[in-house]
């Protein structure tokens, strides 16, 4: 019998003997994963909304003079020095006039006696559509105002700040639920391992007396933890998926669908959550067994 076969059979034997304790741990891990992934799903969908802000999220920097090519380059350099941006567009006086005229549609007559260079030139800055850029947008606008030749900086300040607060709140909730997941998982695994060790105390003592290696004693507990992590996280994500389908079918009407596209985790995210849960549970059991048995 090779090492793997021996430890697999040990693991199976241990699970068969202590399945009641293991079941309790499994349910706790499933619920913890469900709570964490629920908030994480809401958070990631909110981020998607942030990513779809598109043209609404831009800073318009009005200038007093039309910048020449050198000045444009200097502005670009200064802007990029502060933050990475998606793109920068220089809008000249005439282009601004044309755009404005286009927006007026049938009322273009009002511009008849107005000179075509009456609008100031501007720089349109499209920040990267992520939360880091959003969080820095206020500071960015203040920085832009300090640049020479800048008359005014405009952006949807109120909306951005509200959205940012909402995302910050979600971040806290995700962080707390993630911490809850880690705490409950490690506590339950530690507790479950302690009970298993207690119920198998005589057997473990005998294994030492007959010369079992540390790995022979430790690895089955490690595998038990990993198995609990895999089953618990899979069950938690499956429960979340059912909840997601139910909410999408019953509550997400067409109007909401137009505003947001509520989507589930990608396969890679699901795999990552499962792998992290496995690592967390296996690591928890590994640490517990080292502590309890000193092997």
């Amino acid at each position: 019998m090779n090492f793997l076969l021996a430890v697999f059979s040990q693991t199976w034997r241990s699970i068969a003997e202590t399945w009641r304790t293991q079941l309790l741990s499994l349910i706790t891990i499933t619920l913890s994963v469900l709570i964490f992934t629920f908030f994480y799903l809401v958070y990631s969908n909110a981020l998607q909304v942030g990513n779809r802000l598109d043209n609404d999220l831009r800073l318009i920097v009005y200038l007093d003079e039309q910048p020449d090519a050198n000045l444009q380059q200097e502005y670009q350099h200064k802007i990029e020095k502060f933050d990475q941006v998606e793109r920068i567009e220089f809008v000249g006086k005439l282009e601004a006039y044309d755009r404005f005229k286009g927006q007026l549609d049938d009322s273009q007559d009002v511009l008849k006696d107005i000179p075509k260079d009456f609008l100031p030139p501007s720089i349109e800055i499209y920040p990267r559509r992520n939360l880091e850029s959003l969080s820095r947008i206020k500071g960015f606008s203040e920085y832009l105002e300090t640049m020479p030749g800048v008359l005014k900086v405009q952006y949807g300040r109120e909306w951005v700040e509200r959205f940012y607060s909402f995302i910050q709140l979600l971040r806290v909730v995700v962080f707390l639920s993630g911490s809850l997941l880690i705490l409950t998982t490690t506590f339950m695994i530690g507790h479950s391992i302690r009970l298993t060790v207690f119920s198998r105390k005589k057997e473990l003592e005998l294994l030492r007396l007959v010369g079992a290696s540390n790995s022979y004693i430790r690895v089955p507990f490690f595998l038990e933890g990993a198995l609990l992590g895999a089953l618990g996280s899979t069950a938690g994500i499956a429960a979340l998926y059912l909840l997601f389908r139910w909410i999408k079918t019953n509550f997400a009407g067409q109007a909401a669908q137009g505003m947001f596209s509520f989507s589930f985790f990608s396969t890679s995210s699901v795999c990552m959550i499962i792998v992290l849960s496995i690592l967390l549970c296996a690591g928890g059991s590994f640490v517990s067994i080292r502590k309890i048995l000193s092997v």
């Binding site: 090779n2 003592e205 007396l209 007959v210 290696s213 022979y216």
Partner: protein
């Protein structure tokens, strides 16, 4: 001790002492050398120090003073990993059996072989062979906790020899057995000894060592007292 002599030695004890609190001298200056392939009976009254000596030989207890070497390993300097490997080469039949009552007889015996990663067919055939020899084959699926003391003792002996160890330590292996079954156990031990296994058997049962050529060491109040025959190597205090 020369290199050749060292190779031939299975157990080497030099001036080993052990005291339990408050002031019980379980062993005092015990020196002894047992060669590979020998079968030695350790006799003496209850409390003489036989069990303490065996427990130190299998690494459960440590001496307060002195030196113990088993199969070339100095037990005071042995690493954890080496101790585990050494224990796989030693079969021990404990006085309290150390059986798992909620496991079957076959499972109890299998432990000593599983930790050495023996194949399943080997474990199965070895278990059946030993249970047949010890007249316990019909009990192989019975829970160890449901067996009589005598049956439990035989299971403990089967587990001690199952992994074909180089050294067998047995503590009162016939203490709960009738004469006929004790003879079965003695025959089993002798058959292992004939194959080259070293045996150290602690016993009060004169019947199992009362045969021509048997090697007996008597221990009294923690000291080696009488040895039979005199050729048995004993290291006197301070000299080889």
């Amino acid at each position: 001790m020369s290199g050749e002599e060292k190779k031939l030695t299975m157990i080497d004890l030099a001036r080993v002492s052990k005291t339990f609190p408050p002031d019980v001298h379980a062993l005092a200056d015990v020196s002894l050398r047992i060669r590979r392939g020998e079968m030695i009976f350790l006799t003496g009254q209850s409390g003489a120090g036989k069990t303490t000596l065996l427990r130190m030989l299998c690494g459960i207890d440590c001496p307060d003073k002195g030196y113990i070497e088993i199969a070339g390993y100095d037990l005071s300097r042995i690493s954890g990993g080496e101790m585990q490997k050494l224990r796989r080469r030693i079969g021990v039949a404990y006085q309290d059996f150390k059986l798992l009552p909620d496991k079957t007889v076959a499972q109890n015996i299998a432990y000593s072989m599983e930790v050495s990663y023996r194949s399943r067919p080997f474990i199965r055939s070895q278990t059946e062979k030993l249970l047949t020899e010890l007249h316990l084959l019909d009990k192989q699926d019975a829970l160890a906790g449901k067996l009589s003391r005598g049956e439990q003792q035989r299971v403990s002996i089967a587990r001690a020899v199952a992994n074909e160890p180089e050294l067998i330590l047995a503590d009162e292996p016939t203490g709960n057995l009738d004469t006929e079954t004790a003879l079965l156990v003695t025959q089993l031990f002798r058959s292992y000894n004939e194959q080259g296994t070293t045996l150290l058997i602690a016993t009060h049962d004169q019947a199992i060592y009362d045969f021509p050529g048997s090697k007996v060491i008597k221990i009294e109040n923690g000291r080696l007292a009488i040895q039979k025959p005199p050729t048995l190597v004993k290291k006197a205090e301070g000299k080889e």
